[in-house]
Symmetry: C2
Subunit: 239 residues, 2 copies
């Protein structure tokens, strides 16, 4: 086959009309990136790999997204959109906030890569889903009786707790996933080393050698306990 072969006019070789559908859209890219992040983790997300998943070259993505960081911001906002916020119901603000916080924790744990990214992106930027979430939670705290400025403080407090807890859990789950073992297996295999290392610290030693059945349930219980305390603390302000 000569190198400078003339293109033959044929149904098979003729390039398809491209504008039938634009073949690449920001929404598609974001969706595929989210899937890639969820299945393979943050460090597995590269523009080339993402392009390959979309049957496109790596640099084609840059027509729809300015930079990789911007893409990540878009995905983060997408994830924020998955957090469930119940409608305003003034009399029972605690259960409403609990639903929302629990949902946020679930989302963070489901998309564990978020934890690594929150430290760079934070809540400072202006994604529509983040704004919607914040607005609705502010409304919730206002309906409970907080002034708007204090509702802002209360919201920050709850979100900080959820993010901190979610970060720690997600980090744990990430190292776990990298090891390939199950949570219980890892716990059991780590037990002797942890017990040995914690020997100089009696309280840690007691905790690590204590029974560790149902670690996953224990994590959920821990989250609930802390959330209850935070809400208790906020309740004291409503006197």
């Amino acid at each position: 086959m000569p190198a400078d072969e003339q293109p033959v006019a044929s149904v098979w070789t003729r390039p398809r009309r491209r504008r039938e559908q634009p073949a690449l859209s920001r929404a598609q890219i974001v969706a595929e990136a989210l899937d890639l992040l969820d299945t393979e983790g943050l460090e597995a997300l590269s523009m080339r790999k993402l392009g390959a998943r979309l049957d496109a070259g790596a640099t084609s993505l840059y027509r729809h997204v300015a930079t990789k960081d911007e893409l990540i911001e878009l995905v983060v906002d997408e994830v924020y959109g998955q957090v469930e916020v119940p409608d305003i119901q003034g009399e029972d603000w605690r259960s409403a906030v609990t639903v929302c916080a629990t949902s946020a924790r679930a989302v963070l744990v489901k998309h564990a890569w978020m934890a690594s990214v929150l430290g760079q992106v934070g809540l400072a930027y202006l994604g529509p889903n983040v704004m919607r979430l914040n607005e609705r939670m502010l409304a919730l705290f206002e309906a409970a009786g907080f002034s708007l400025p204090e509702a802002d403080l209360a919201l920050s407090t709850v979100m900080a707790y959820v993010i901190g807890m979610g970060t720690t859990e997600a980090a744990w789950l990430t190292t776990l996933a990298r090891s390939g073992r199950s949570e219980q297996e890892w716990m059991d295999s780590l037990r002797p080393a942890a017990a040995e290392a914690s020997k100089p610290y009696p309280r840690l030693h007691a905790l690590t050698t204590a029974s560790n059945e149902d670690v996953e349930g224990a994590r959920a219980d821990g989250f609930r306990y802390g959330l209850e305390r935070v809400l208790d603390g906020l309740a004291t302000r409503l006197g």
Copy 2:
């Protein structure tokens, strides 16, 4: 100069005795890495750059450190060692925990890159400084009247709050540092865009258009408010 020139015996060309001092040690590497992280941020840390700072090749570092991730874990533990924990004083546990939490926040803000890394490293690993910190805080909560298991829960709650708040603040400071502007300048230049974007959300709109003098102080106040609430919530468990 011929390419295959013979090495001339001379005081200047003769290689120095290397074992005068080992020239590279794990402690030195960790210290230099910490400095590099603090001054240039997480994505500026590369093994080559770190090696250059120590007058060494990049791969030389691997004699003292298994992998870059391990190096980061070492630096993280080093940073945890900077958190101040007051001695046990049972009667005034609130102020003791406050000192510790405030110190932890200061450390997180000072080493803003920590926020990006906590999502991968978490508190799950076994660094000596982390263990020491946890042990002493457990003692503090026990002295306050919590049982050991509940002291563990209380510790997680407070730490989650501090980490969540610190993560958000650090993310904010990082994007700020990247822009090169001061906090007040950035706030002022962002004001119109933020006001415009928050128009559909009345509460957010009210908050963003409210007076924003002394944003740094406002951040500190916000942290104190939330911490007080968390401690209030824990106090309810002590009857």
